[in-house]
Each structure stands twice: as structure tokens, then as C-alpha cells.
Symmetry: C2
């Protein structure tokens, strides 16, 4: 499989990378290859400019799976999920996993807009006051709302009581768990003070347990320690701007 995503950030592509890494799949992160080997951002843009397959992607990430080019993080995950054993194969589970992933998608878009509330095309410095206002509400309302939701999903998964979970869905790890891990570590990177408060208040104890469980999965542990894991930075979705972490 060939993954196409920006080579210097975790961003939305990271949710796909985590799934591929956890499944132990041999994949190529195309834009991270040297230009000489057909890589670089050029390769990504060239692929994105191609019509068809069957429709061109609007934006990265997209994944080449056989003859298909699939775009949108959640769509990629639902396509590779059953193939890689990252979601149960029955329709009911697949729909539920995708539903959870789409809430993660929405949440991640809101994280992005904490530092870019006016326009993606403007620098952060040019929308700093608005970013501060948006982040204030994000920390006070949106983080508790979304994490509270995912926490209740974990609590309500009856399979968890009997197993080694918590799992978002059913009795085993799915791509949703990997994405929730990424959300938790991303938030801890971007909003360490706000997240510490939440953890201390134990309002997200299931999510914290899930995060630690995922981090200890052998392939994820190896990936996180490798150079393939791009460090968080201030070009990605989760950015550490202390002035926004009030």
C-alpha cells in the first residue's frame, strides 16, 4: 500500500500510519521517500492532480490500495480496517466503528481551528487573538464534550468488563482505539495544562487506560520509538502554543 501525506507532520495522515503500523503492513509513505526514488511532495501533488481512481482526492491523506485510491482518513480506515483485522467484519461493527471515527474527524477539525479560526491560508500570528478566544471555548466546552462522549462509549461497551480493554468497540482493539490514542497524546501535547486538569479529575480514566494500553502494543511501541514517528511540531494539527493552553 502507498500512503500519500505531507512528509513533515503527523497531521491527519498519522491516524492511517498508526493503523498500518499496528497491523504490521509493509507500506510506503511516498512523500517521505527522496525525490530520486519517486518521493517528495512532488509525488504527492502529482498523484492528487490525477483524475479518476475513480474520483480525485480533495486533499491528503489518500491511500493506494490495489487499483483504488481512497481519500479521507475515516474512509481509508473503514476500507483497510476489515482487510487488516482492525475492525470486526460484520456490517454492524463496521458502521459503528466508522461512526466513532467520524466524530474523531470532527474533533480533529476543531483542534485545527483552535490555531486557525479565521483562515487556513493566514499565519497563526495573524489570527492569534481569535485563536485565543476559540481555544478558551474549546478547552472549556469542546474537549469535555468530545472526551466525555468517548469516555461514555468506552464505559458502555459491555465487552470491556470481561476483557483486557477498554476497547471502543467489541472485545478487541480496532482502528478507533488507535485514533483515540492519537487524540489523547495530541491533546496532551497541545494543551498539557488543560489535559492534566481533566486527568486529575479522573473524568477520562477509561480514555487514559486506553491510551496507555495502545502505547504498549508491541508494534505501536516500536513505531513510536522509531524515526518513522514524526515528532509533534507547530506545523501539524496539534500545536503547542502555551498562550492557547489557558
Amino acid at each position: 500500500m502507498n500512503l500519500y501525506y505531507w512528509p513533515t507532520i503527523q497531521g491527519r495522515g498519522e491516524f492511517v500510519r498508526l493503523a498500518l503500523e499496528d497491523a504490521g503492513v509493509d507500506y510506503v509513505d511516498v512523500a517521505r521517500l527522496p525525490k530520486k526514488k519517486g518521493g517528495g511532495v512532488e509525488a504527492l501533488l502529482a498523484m492528487m492532480g490525477k483524475a479518476g481512481a475513480p474520483v480525485r482526492p480533495f486533499a491528503p491523506p489518500f491511500l493506494e490500495v490495489g487499483k483504488l485510491v481512497v481519500a479521507h482518513t475515516a474512509n481509508i480506515l473503514q476500507v483497510i480496517g476489515p482487510r487488516l483485522g482492525l475492525v470486526p467484519k460484520d456490517e454492524r461493527s463496521r458502521i459503528a466503528a466508522h461512526q466513532l471515527q467520524l466524530s474523531i474527524t470532527d474533533f480533529v477539525a476543531e483542534v485545527h481551528d483552535t490555531h486557525h479560526p479565521i483562515a487556513t491560508s493566514l499565519y497563526y500570528e495573524d489570527q492569534k487573538a481569535e485563536a485565543r478566544a476559540r481555544s478558551k471555548h474549546f478547552i472549556k466546552q469542546r474537549i469535555p464534550k468530545y472526551l466525555g462522549y468517548f469516555e461514555s462509549v468506552l464505559k458502555e461497551n459491555k465487552a470491556n468488563a470481561r476483557r483486557k480493554g477498554p476497547f471502543a468497540l467489541g472485545r478487541a482493539s480496532t482502528y478507533v482505539d488507535l485514533s483515540l490514542f492519537q487524540v489523547m497524546v495530541g491533546l496532551a501535547y497541545a494543551f498539557p495544562k488543560a489535559m492534566r486538569r481533566l486527568e486529575i479529575e479522573e473524568e477520562v480514566s477509561h480514555l487514559v487506560a486506553l491510551r496507555d494500553r495502545v502505547a504498549a502494543r508491541p508494534r505501536i511501541e516500536a513505531y513510536l520509538a522509531s524515526e518513522r514517528r514524526i515528532p509533534f511540531n507547530e506545523d501539524g494539527i496539534f500545536r503547542r502554543y502555551p498562550e492557547l493552553d489557558a
Copy 2:
């Protein structure tokens, strides 16, 4: 099928309503029923508070299909699409349709944020200056980017040349076409000046043709003329605030 969505706005639920209407399905728009008949917002909230099925929805819209409760507009459409003949049944087409729908989802979220760039929980009046700034960029950059993308998808669909399209995908109308119709009429409601400019410049001629074609589909035409179609208003996603349509 039972649809759960806010009873006084088109909002995100409208993309599902259009699909159900176009397919001629007998559905119940639960929250629009009188309270006495088990309707109202109360019924929606009660259903949303229920754990399981198999996971609780994060937000409306959600649709009860048999024993399943499916949330997220794009997820609902991909589940009912093949059942209602609103998308070809092969995997390739279903994935491509869903991919397009997810770009529509992102676009709609951006439309929402033109009037709520700081916080959903604040009144528009309390974020009017920021809304003006965001809308300026939205009109100048995001509308052309998204509509330009969808326009190129319509142009690149080779099946269109031979048939009565334009269609977003393949040789027949899909739920994606219905959603693109809604986006076009929604934008024309919210940003009439900006959209008139785009139309005059003929940069979206395929989208305009698609919009008119969808509007003339007998069931859609009947629906739009009925009381079931809630008029656009300033509580929904597409809002007409002349000060934002610069």
C-alpha cells in the same frame, strides 16, 4: 425508517431528508411529530441518550434502520445508499461516493463556521467581527476551492458525456448529487452576491446544471414545494447575513 434531527432547520439532516425523499421512502421525521405522538425534541434527546445500537450517537442526525441506529450524515447516506438505489452497489463506487460526501461534510462544517468562528455556544452577535473576517476568506478561497473541486469531478466523469447528467459518479443520480444540489442552493441562500459572481463567470457551470437537474426530479420537485421542506432560516447551517456576503 425513523430520522432524528432538529425539527426547525434543514441543517445536516437535510442531506438525509433529500435522499429519503428522492427514493420515495416512507420515513418518519420523529422530532417533527407532535409530542403527543411521541415526537418533539424530547424524543430526539431521549434516543440520543441511549447507550448502544451499538454505540450512542454524538449528535443528530441519526437514522433508525431496523435494529441499527446510524449517526453522521455521510455514514447514514452510505448505509442507506445501496439499499435505496442511490449509489451503485459495487465497492469501488460506494467508496468513491462516500469520499465525495466526506468532502461535502467538511465544506458544510466550514459554512457553519462562517457565522460561528469562535464558538458554537456563543451567539452570532458575539462573534460578528470574526465571522466577517472568516467569511471574507471563505468566499474568496474556500468556495472556489471546494466548488472548483466538485466541478472538476463532474467534468472528469466520463459517463456524463453520454448521458443526461452531469452526475458526480457513474451514469445515474446518486445521493452525492442530491447533496451537491443542497450545497448549491444553500450557498445561494447564504451568499447570493458571491454565488452570482461565480455563476456569471461560468466557473461552476456543471454544478449549476446538476443543481437544476436535481431540482427537476419529480420527487424532489414535489418535496421542495411541500411543507416537509423547512425553509432556510437563520438557525440553520446556511444563514443569510448580508454583512457576511461581501
